[in-house]
Amino acid sequence: MAYTFQFRDVLAQQDAIVNGLVLTLELSAGIIALGFAIGILVAAVLVYGKPWARKAAAVYVEMIRNTPLIVQLFLIFFGLPSLGLKLDVITASVLALTINLGAYTAEIVRAGFESIPKSQIEAGISLGLTGPQVFRHVVLLPALKNVYPSLTSQFVLMMLATSVVSQISAAELFHAGSIIQSRTFRDFEVYTVIAVLYLCLSLLMRVGFSACYRLFFRKS
């Protein structure tokens, strides 16, 4: 192998990398918050909703879970303008990623809701708790505790999946990589650096989430 690795040129472009990293973090935080909220809402509809609402929620979840993220993104970014709805890159990215994560989260949280025995809910009601109180203390928190590992690994996977929005040129980490590649022609070095950064992010997220678990669910 007659190839000398040259990281100097790549590392000289650290501004682009840092900017990309920041956008990746912002995107991830935003879509995880939004997707989590949508997921809980849709899961509640899936389990406790009226029959028509359940159907609608199930159609949403199945449609998203059975088509690729990149196609959903292209449909929103390239397709919607022909219907008269033109979104900028960031809005389209957040929309596509949130819709996507919402469906996956809904499916996970649904499993959590279904793991709560009906008798527990009845016990809550018979103690005189109101509907929202029962939902919060008897259903939601124990359900989230039960599905915490799969939920958080979905979030980590979603952080990694934000790299896909580079394909509509959102200037996140992966896109920063492509830019530096076109400036320096150091393909392999660029993507090695990008890979290491993603790896660090995902490890940090895993550590963070397990610390959160102890924080949230220590008492129960």
Binding site: Y3, T67, V156, Y191, A195
Partner: protein
């Protein structure tokens, strides 16, 4: 030149599905082979092997698939192999699939009671023989529903191969869009075609899962 979206485009899109299926199949073969090794190490009694397997899974799953594809696409070319996109894609997807399949199958292996391993050991079987004759036949039943579920993920993720220029369904959609300038219609068709591949498998996986629960 811009032209109308026609039946021929539709046929081309449907035709491109075979490359999506083809790539899924290659990734499943490559990823399955490595994944089996990872699962066997991950369920081993030797701590070193377990840590190695765990490290591999965390490492592979901690880097986006898109980055893996680029690393193999460019990485192999600087090593002097000028490979067509489909080979780079196959290697990239195999690595990606191996981590997920390894983790799924490790879970299946360790779900088999310890006593079954010990029974195998007590009649003088080696680790490989215990796996081959005692554990795997039982673990397969546990592993099949999530494996089918993962195949759905794999089919969807092969869409990323479009980015390194492998002409599968999504890439064909991009090409058709460039020619007809009807992105909404084209990507809707592309999405529908993916759905037609994935949804039956999703349903099948769920049915298998239910059957397994009943059987237990």
């Amino acid at each position: 030149m811009i032209r109308e979206l026609s039946g021929t485009d539709m046929l081309y899109l449907i035709g491109a599905m075979r490359w999506t299926v083809f790539l899924t199949f290659l990734a499943l073969s490559g990823g399955g082979a490595i994944g089996l090794l990872i699962a066997a190490c991950g369920a081993s009694t030797r701590a070193t092997l377990r840590y190695l397997a765990r490290g591999y899974v965390v490492f592979v799953q901690g880097i986006p698939l898109l980055v893996w594809l680029f690393i193999f696409y460019f990485g192999l070319s600087i090593m002097g192999y000028n490979l067509p996109p489909w080979i780079a894609a196959t290697i990239g997807f195999s690595v990606y699939a191996s981590a997920f399949l390894g983790e799924i199958w490790r879970g299946a292996l360790i779900s088999i009671p310890r006593t079954q391993w010990e029974a195998g050991l007590s009649i003088g079987l080696t680790y490989i023989e215990q796996l081959r004759h005692v554990i795997i036949p039982q673990a397969v039943r546990v592993a099949i529903p999530p494996t089918v579920g993962f195949i759905v993920q794999l089919i969807k993720n092969t869409s990323l191969a479009a980015v390194i220029g492998f002409v599968e369904l999504t890439r064909e959609g991009q090409l058709t869009t460039a020619a007809t300038f009807q992105p909404f219609a084209v990507y809707l068709i592309v999405a529908a075609l993916y759905f037609s591949l994935c949804y039956p498998l999703t349903r099948y996986s769920r049915i298998l899962e239910r059957q397994r629960r009943v059987a237990r």
